[in-house]
């Protein structure tokens, strides 16, 4: 883009040249399709791979000859992402249009049936819907809890004070724990016989205390554990915003006798809004995937089944691969809509400001 000194005109479509990527795509597509039809998967896999490499090489040579440095710089990342992420994603997207169970090697094209089943089948749809409602609940509660706790923690650390560095690392530690270990230990904390929570509550009230025997308690237990683990993430982002506010603005506000509340909204908040949005975005994406804590703490009992755990059951335990793929693409669609909404709001606000 920046270098407009293109050294060579692009080759004509039918010229055999190493930088003719258009031709490479055509040849690659044609050969791949033929190979996929005529050869068994184990052979065609290699042919398709070789074709992909051919197209990639043509792109690189083309970019190099014409000094499209942007393309050259982005190419390795795109290659890795394509092979490790996008290709499997497309694969499972493809599978979602077939009737396919991974432990039963027959495969049959069924179009949108899996999606229709996920949305309308009286048994499947109800389970999906239920898991979805629970997931929405967890997204709202865990993300809200993380934002609030993370924010308050960040406020604590916003000012410079002695030993701040050492206290900060203590608060950051929960997010470094592996989910398995912290989840398993939370089952211990919540255990009615051995756990600390019931021990303390029992000593205070004199009654036996069981946290997880009802939906409210189970949800609270999961939300607490999740918020405890991931609030530090939000804190870190918010804190970064807070420390970036120039000190003289607060001094000016002190001189101008601006109230604390107004100070927050007019000075602090504009500085952390972008980071808050980023935290919100990443935590929402993660909250949609909430499964491991649920598996460890309740196994989905007390009506805490989430869509992601539901998916693990369908795709892993029951091997209903294509059904799982369909559900996960429905879920992906929702996440994309939601994150775009965030991004739209974030951009609108920052342009308005």
């Amino acid at each position: 883009m920046s270098s407009t000194t293109a050294t060579a005109a692009p080759p004509a479509l039918m010229t055999l040249a190493p930088d003719n990527w258009k031709l490479a795509i055509l040849v690659g597509l044609a050969v791949s399709v033929i190979a996929a039809i005529t050869f068994p998967a184990s052979v065609s896999f290699w042919i398709v791979g070789a074709m992909a490499a051919l197209v990639a090489a043509a792109f690189v040579v083309n970019a190099f000859r014409r000094k499209y440095y942007g393309g050259l710089l982005v190419a390795p990342a795109i290659a890795v992402l394509f092979v490790m992420n996008i290709f499997p994603l497309l694969w499972s997207l493809g599978l979602s249009f077939f009737a396919y169970q991974s432990n039963n090697q027959s495969i049959r094209f069924v179009g949108l049936n899996n999606y229709i089943k996920a949305l309308t089948n009286d048994l499947a749809a109800e389970a999906n819907w239920n898991a979805l409602v629970n997931t929405a609940m967890f997204v709202v509660f865990t993300v809200a809890a993380q934002m609030v706790v993370g924010f308050l923690l960040a406020l604590l650390f916003a000012k410079q004070f002695p030993l701040r560095k050492y206290l900060l690392i203590l608060v950051l530690t929960p997010m470094m724990l592996s989910v398995v270990a912290s989840g398993v230990f939370f089952t211990y904390y919540y255990d009615p016989t051995f756990g600390i929570l019931s021990y303390i509550m029992g000593n205070i009230t004199g009654e036996q205390f069981i946290l997880m025997d009802n939906k409210l308690g189970a949800v609270a237990g999961i939300v607490f554990a999740d918020a405890w683990m991931w609030s530090p993430f939000v804190m870190l982002l918010v804190l970064a915003g807070l420390v970036s506010v120039p000190k003289y603005l607060y001094e000016a506000a002190a001189i101008d006798r601006v109230s604390g509340w107004r100070q927050f909204w007019t000075i602090t908040f504009p500085y952390i809004r972008g980071l808050l949005m980023l935290a919100l975005l990443f935590r929402t994406i993660e909250a949609f995937k909430l499964a491991d804590l649920v598996i460890l703490l309740t196994k989905g009992g007390n009506d805490t089944m989430t869509i992601s755990y539901h998916l693990i059951r369908i795709a892993n335990e029951q091997n209903k691969t294509s059904e799982g793929a369909a559900i996960s693409y429905l879920m992906l669609f929702m996440v994309i809509v939601l994150t775009n909404l965030y991004l739209y709001l974030a951009n609108r606000r920052s342009h308005g400001a």
Partner: protein, 362 residues
Amino acid sequence: MSTIEIRKVTKRFGDFTAVRDADLSVAAGEVVCLLGPSGCGKTTTLRMIAGLERATSGDVVIAGRNMNELPPEKRDIAMVFQFYALYPALSVGQNIAMPLHYEKLSKAEVDARVIKVAKIMHLTEVLDRMPSHISEGEKQRLAVARAIVRDPNCFLFDEPLSRLDVELRHSMRGQIKEVLTGLSKATVIVTHDQLEALTMANRIAIMRDGLIEQVGTPHDVFAKPANVFVASFIGTPQMNLVDADLKSFDGKNASVSLAGNDLVIAADPAVSRLKPSKVTVGIRPRAFTAANEKAADTIAAQAELIEPMGAETLIHARTAAGGDIRVVVPRDKRVKIGEALHLRPDPKQTHFFGEDGKAVRA
């Protein structure tokens, strides 16, 4: 009454003493400039007055009240920051209105005052813009507008003009002075620019290394510098400070050996306090007249470098002892490089400084 007084104020950061035993009082309606090179402690002094820093010891008294224990918001002051400290998320108008929220005025009243101030500071056109979308001069005016929109105990300015270009700076100096004159508040302006200080201040406090070296009217600090530092700091081109041996003083004329010349020159009677010893003689570049030939009261030197400055010409001249003397002569006085000069200092503008660097004056 809008006054400021600081008594024996000291500020230490760890081992470093930023301000030592500073005393200063500013009367109502008076503008005092804190002037000094960077790192001299002038901004720290200002921030202690504002309450942004706590004095390690000493008292800060504003409007007759001891303010040591009070945070900035309780001191009722207005301040203009070096980087303006404009609230980036608020429009120009909202910025001006910020200090008014404390007073819980009606919206109409707030608007009226904002518009009034905006008119004074020529900001009416840009009231709805964001600070990032206005010019540097407008930003500066906005910072002042925010300070004068209310009626505080005093005004504090921290290097208010340092970010403006020369031309803007010139016109803003006038504007600020005009505005301040109408307000009759005690005002402290921190600056490193002596022209700014000389033009805007009623009095100037010159600081160095945490100490206030001299406080006085612009005339005083120029005409009667208290010590070598002040003498060298005030005035452009810089005063000539020449090491000399005081040989004798007869109560009227001093006989000195200076830059390879033996010189007899009328001096302040107080010079009698000095024993024959090393002294420093200070002569402003404009205090020389060129004599045609060598005399008892002239210094011989050779023109080495000639810098035309428009109305005047600056000559760097080399004395016999190898020292450098700056001389300003009128434009019409033609001097050639290499020309021998006989410079006669004006005794009234010749200052004697003792070995301790202090001016010797009656």
